[in-house]
Symmetry: C2
Subunit: 339 residues, 2 copies
């Protein structure tokens, strides 16, 4: 009996030590690339409140849904959206099969490297570029094309694969939320099938938690095997008012935390904030030209075609108490390759 | 030292006992409502092969995706689809606000309880009934309407809530797959927002794992709060060739197991079976008029407007080695309320 009691005590001590050790490990600096201050505190306080079973603001695990815009929120979107770089590269690759592109806009502008003219072609021009480069093959073939492209393409300023242009503080935030029982989703205006080949490896986000814009597909039997052919027809644009629609369509419940960086994320944050209970709403503000880019036009920064953050969005954010993340002040590291 | 060694041995014994006990618990009859035989063995063998790390057919947890049709696969679909019963009840409820329905088809047929005329109105008639009853309110209001309806509506033959009309063997299968690391999805031709209010409680399937047909929604600010208004316009039909499209759209990877019961599930099973590696494809065949219903027209059973299982689907299933579940022979219980 005595021996068993000793063992029991030893076991209890071991168990207690394990609990303490685990708590220390969890408490140990979960967001090392975030500077101490109000922004980081807003995150940690929110997570503590919703995960503490004794808190009146406790949220069960099943409801801990967090949605993240991708371009400009999780990775760089300048000098232009990564998917647009991909589309332009595809136009150059496919040009020999399309001699008519030499004299047809917006393709001619791409082939002549006239980016101003590409941008000037507007949404219609961009859709034409997308359809010419993203449709006409099976989903499996498109996945292979995207994967190959990510392996070889390099960012013009940082000279690294685009998949390394993710923000280290946001990677830590994703991991921190998941460690606290959150399910993390991407809700991007970018193409769903452009992102999915890399999100699991790059962000730890599986394909079923990626929401994005899409074109229609068609089920066909080719050589006795079923394929999904990608059609040159828009299916869904997951931007602005499309983001709450996409969230409802894919997730079917309201997030309790949402993260964006531009006017395109405004409605997502409105939708998330309108639910009952604790909420965390944050917008990344690109105010660090030295380490990344600086653009608004909010706060007098440069206007931009990619990831516009207008003064009115800044006003709505302040009015609602949403947290503005200053890349310059809140992040001690931008990329994992920063010193 | 001696005492510590004893404790170590005791701990190891306790750990070993725990492993043995857990194994016994897991091995203990996971599918009690399934009769022993080839059908049940097909399930257990498949699960053993894909979960055994030493098996050449081992599948990592992230790829263990299983998709289930709902109507006729997880719950009863006769004498008509549950959602159609809901739509007809809504027409009756809303009729006082629509005096014109008394003389307009297919509404007149509903109000006169002329089910043959309702069915004869075809897909166009059914869509009109759906639009008149499923659109024109916010997603939140629709959810409340559906929840109320499930609380009060009763199945005409079994006189129980429709949520009790689920098949006990399929409930056990869902639980068994999840206990083995599978993520279980519903992939139904039914309305996604009709199912979601009940799937978590009834099947243990959260809203984000429900795929179905949908109408379009519109983001609006009403009284200062954002809402998603349901529009009388089809967005997506998740049936037949729509099922692989929906699976790709929502999940972004191919299931390794799919379960259906009708011609509407054929393309889903084709799509699932076309992937590399082990696969489990099963079709529930309704051949038990005593305990549930019997319909085909495969195998000479009665033809039906709800959940048609044609001879050609039966032929394709046999050719491909898909498993046909005979409700009569493979299930010793149909509903949880059976003795």
């Amino acid at each position: 009996m005595k021996k068993q009691n000793d063992c029991l005590i030893l076991n209890l001590l071991l168990a207690a030590a394990l609990v303490v050790f685990t708590s220390i490990a969890a408490a140990a600096e979960p967001l090392p690339s975030w500077n101490d201050g109000a922004t980081k505190s807003a995150i940690v306080d929110f997570v503590n409140r919703v995960t503490d079973e004794n808190s009146p603001e406790f949220v069960p695990v099943s409801e801990r849904i967090a949605t993240f815009d991708n371009d400009g929120t999780l990775w760089a979107e300048h000098p232009m959206y990564t998917q647009l770089v991909f589309a332009l590269d595809r136009v150059r690759t496919l040009a020999p099969q399309h001699p008519e592109w030499k004299t047809t806009q917006p393709f001619q502008a791409v082939l002549e490297n006239d980016m101003d003219a590409v941008v000037a072609s507007g949404q219609q021009g961009l859709i034409e570029l997308i359809m010419a480069t993203h449709a006409g093959m099976s989903t499996a073939d498109f996945q292979a094309i995207v994967t190959d492209w990510f392996d070889t393409a390099r960012h013009p300023r940082f000279n690294r694969p685009y998949t390394e242009l993710t923000y280290q503080p946001m990677q830590e935030l994703l991991a921190y939320l998941r460690a606290n029982g959150f399910k993390t989703y991407i809700t991007s205006g970018g193409g769903i099938e452009f992102m999915r080949p890399m999100t699991e490896e790059v962000y730890g986000i599986p394909p079923e938690q990626v929401i994005g814009s899409s074109i229609k597909t068609k089920y066909e039997i080719v050589d006795g095997k079923p394929v999904l052919m990608r059609l040159p027809e828009m299916n869904f644009i997951d931007d602005k008012a499309g983001k709450p629609i996409g969230i409802n369509q894919y997730i079917g419940r309201r997030p309790i935390a949402s993260f964006g960086n531009s006017d395109g994320d405004l409605q997502m944050l409105e939708w998330t904030s309108a639910g009952d209970g604790p909420r965390l709403l944050m917008l990344v503000f690109h105010d660090d030209a030295d380490r990344e880019y600086a653009y608004g036009p909010a706060n007098g920064l440069a206007d931009t075609s990619f990831g516009k953050f207008s003064a009115s969005t800044m006003g709505e954010a302040k009015e609602n108490g949403w947290v503005i993340i200053s890349m310059k002040n809140d992040w001690n590291r931008i990329f994992s390759f920063d010193n």
